[in-house]
């Protein structure tokens, strides 16, 4: 999207950098003379995922500026070459081909979201580029590309690891839940989440009493919630996208859904604007997350990063706090940065080998990749909303509202069980 203001801001910033460079000492002059190092990607700047895509881009730009302040990569200034994929998978192959063939970028990273990562893979594989990747759920499952690295901490078996925490928590309660309802949106991520939940439910010996999907453009969720209520499940696992997450939570509240646990795989409850709108309706919902401002997750650098993000995000219409995606958008570039610095070249084979064996220190903690390019160990958090007040955005900035229940390593509080009586 063209935003004249951001153009101007970019111009001013570029001018400032040029001035700074001119007035700097002679040493970085050599670096300035070398050709810039180009990192290419497509990003959802319009379309369904644009809100998150733009937030990710802000995080990535903070990384770029940080790296250039340190003198760039391999002594070269880092530049981004990126295009808007408009959240349309069909655009992606063309854009990645262009990045490789016309723009001749030095490194590639992925777009945001499974549907936009997967279409790029065949092209990336043909050129054997390393492919740090931003939030694709099991996108590499069918390609099995050995230079794919996923920053989302879904773990080595993304489909089941995704909801495992939810079921572990349920199993630990007294009385132990016996029945479960699974409901999911008819689209890629939600169906995968539901499939994983189904496996986990069977493994945990839960009886599945309701298992249905709904089309994402559903207007009214009360009939669905009522049908779930009629089967009388102990717990409910929901795989949903932002608009339906809102609809589900509201409907559950209106119908007075009586279950012991509710949530699991609801996308959208991580975003501040939706949190503010739902307010107290969120209380006691247990849902996945990747990073929340709890003291147990205070990794080195993350506060500084978020401060920069929150400053940059003002007035851009993106998530004001940026807890969910931006730290990971920063981290997947940190992985690339640390690898390039370690092998001191852009040799893709060497970079891939390094990424496979090294442990990376990032703003989202220590990252170690497994064989299939996913995190070697899952870190899908299960958080529970607590004491959320009405119509108050600021409450979500700090700790206490989203308590980490699982995994134990990062736990910051105990579960409130049951969800509602």
């Amino acid at each position: 999207m063209v935003n004249p203001r951001s153009f101007m801001r970019a111009g001013v910033a570029a001018g400032a950098i040029a001035l700074a460079a001119a007035s700097a000492s002679l040493a970085p002059l050599a670096a300035q003379a070398a050709e810039p190092l180009k990192i290419g990607f497509s990003m959802a700047l319009t379309g369904g995922l644009a809100g998150a895509g733009k937030a990710a881009l802000i995080g990535m730009e903070i990384w770029r500026d940080d790296v250039n302040k340190k003198g760039g990569l391999l002594g070269r200034k880092v530049e981004f070459v990126y295009y808007d994929d408009a959240t349309q998978p069909a655009n992606v192959p063309g854009l990645y081909t262009k990045l490789l063939e016309v723009d001749k970028v030095d490194l590639l990273v992925s777009a945001y979201g499974t549907n936009l990562i997967a279409p790029a893979l065949p092209i990336v594989m043909r050129k054997k580029m390393v492919f740090p990747s931003l939030f694709g759920l099991a996108a590499n499952e069918e390609f099995k590309y050995d230079r794919y690295f996923q920053i989302m901490p879904a773990g080595p078996n993304p489909l089941t690891d995704w909801s495992w925490g939810f079921f572990e928590l349920a199993a630990a309660q007294n009385p132990k839940p016996k029945t479960i309802a699974i409901v999911a949106a008819d689209a890629e991520f939600a169906l995968n989440a539901a499939a994983g939940a189904r496996k986990n439910a069977q493994a945990a010996g839960l009886k599945i009493v309701y298992d249905k999907t709904y089309p994402p453009p559903t207007t009214d969720f009360t009939p669905i919630v009522r049908a779930i209520q009629a089967t009388n499940p102990d717990i409910v696992y929901v795989g949903s996208y932002p608009p339906d997450s809102v609809g589900m939570v509201k409907a559950a509240n209106e119908v007075g859904l009586k279950v012991k646990m509710f949530g699991g795989g609801m996308v959208g409850l991580q975003f501040a604007s939706i949190q503010k709108n739902l307010g107290p309706l969120l209380n006691n919902i247990v849902n996945y997350d990747f990073w929340v401002p709890e003291p147990t997750l205070d990794f080195p650098g993350v506060k500084e990063f978020l401060a920069k993000y929150q400053e940059a995000a003002k007035g851009k219409g993106v998530d004001p706090y940026g807890h969910y995606l931006p730290p990971f958008a920063y981290a997947y570039l940190q992985v690339l940065e640390q690898s390039v610095n370690a092998v001191k070249s852009l040799d893709q084979a060497k970079l891939a080998a390094h990424m496979h064996k090294a442990t990376f220190d990032t703003v989202v903690g220590k990252v170690k990749f497994g064989k299939n390019g996913e995190w070697a160990k899952s870190r899908v958090l299960m958080v529970q909303f607590r004491d959320v007040q009405n119509d108050n955005l600021e409450q979500f900035a700090g700790p206490g509202k989203r308590v980490v229940l699982y995994p134990k390593e990062w736990k910051s509080g105990d579960i409130v069980f049951p969800y509602k009586q």
Binding site: V2, Y83, P89, P93, E101, N115, E142, F143
Partner: protein, 313 residues
């Protein structure tokens, strides 16, 4: 255009395409050309029913998607080669088109247009609930390793699409200038009058809807190999339907060359805008061009040229 000249131009374009694949290596251009050709094929197909016969089809994306999903299903079941998949896509599209033709018996004008819209949604729901082809989750296609004598698979796809589009243009031209085409025009101008004048309206309409459906199915069949990931949202994209309507309207619906001109103009603009400015402006451009053209030049570019021609004489 005289026949000899027409065939000469077609041959020259095809040869040009072949030469291009030996000269230009940059894969990006083939991607862009492919999308433009795909849009052209869709526009030519839409125009056979919309322009020649006067029935507006809002459900173009459904025909396109059926071609694409035929490929997904058959590739999974039998692993057929591409030419057979294209034939199959065309057959399925044509069959559904044939069925749509029978709808015109009862539904005229606006009702028909709405029925096509409803049809697209029903078909999309079925595909989204059919796990074999990936359902709503979508399914991946790996590009085959083999690509004949071409340097890459996308080059081959580009040539395939070029051949298909040229064939469609030939068919469209034949339909437009033959007796059959005059029958279709009679239906467009006044169906009741045509019927009473002895024009076999149902038969002609069936030909028209079947050819349109088959062409759209053919256009969709190679799509899974092109994108490597197909889900209902991208295959049934409304944008495909909008382009299929807007391009002929901008180029001019009465003449076979209209949709070709419209598609080349709009498609090229879109591809340029996509990489230079933004993808969202793409849609805005089609919208604005569509509205401006039909308000100010309802006969499209072809109509403008014809008017200019007449004034000169």
């Amino acid at each position: 255009m005289k026949s000899a000249a027409f065939w000469g131009v077609l041959a020259a374009i095809f040869a040009g395409g072949l030469v291009l694949t030996t000269v230009v290596e940059n894969e990006y251009y083939y991607n862009a050309f492919y999308l433009i050709l795909q849009a052209t094929l869709m526009a030519v197909a839409w125009n056979i029913l919309g322009g020649f016969t006067g029935y507006v089809n809002f459900g173009s994306a459904a025909f396109f998607a059926m071609g694409a999903y035929t490929t997904v299903a058959l590739n999974k079941a039998l692993a057929l080669p591409l030419p057979l998949l294209i034939l199959a896509g065309g057959a399925v599209g044509g069959l559904v088109g044939f069925g749509l033709g029978y709808l015109t018996l009862r539904l005229k004008g606006v009702y028909f247009a709405i029925a096509t819209l409803a049809m697209a949604i029903v078909i999309e729901t079925f595909i989204a609930n059919w796990p074999y082809v990936g359902g709503a989750r979508g399914s991946y296609m790996l590009t085959p390793e083999k690509h004949l004598w071409f340097d890459s698979y996308i080059q081959m796809l580009f040539m395939v699409m070029l051949l298909l589009t040229l064939t469609a243009v030939v068919i469209s031209r034949v339909l437009n200038s033959s007796r059959l085409g005059r029958g279709l025009a009679a239906i467009r101008d006044d169906e009741v009058a045509a019927e009473s004048a002895g024009v076999p309206t149902l038969r002609l309409k069936l030909v028209s809807t079947t050819v349109m459906g088959a062409m759209m199915g053919v256009a969709g069949a190679p799509f899974p190999y092109f994108v490597t990931f197909v889900d209902p949202v991208s295959a049934f994209n409304l944008f495909i339907a909008v382009n299929a309507i807007a391009m002929p309207m901008i180029g001019g619906t009465g003449h076979w060359i209209g949709p070709v001109i419209g598609a080349l103009l709009v498609g090229t603009t879109q591809e340029i805008v996509k990489v230079t400015v933004s993808s969202e402006l793409n849609v805005l451009i089609v919208g604005v061009m569509l509205v401006v053209f039909i308000t100010l030049a309802p006969q499209g570019i072809v109509g403008l040229v014809q008017k200019h021609w007449k004034r000169k004489q």
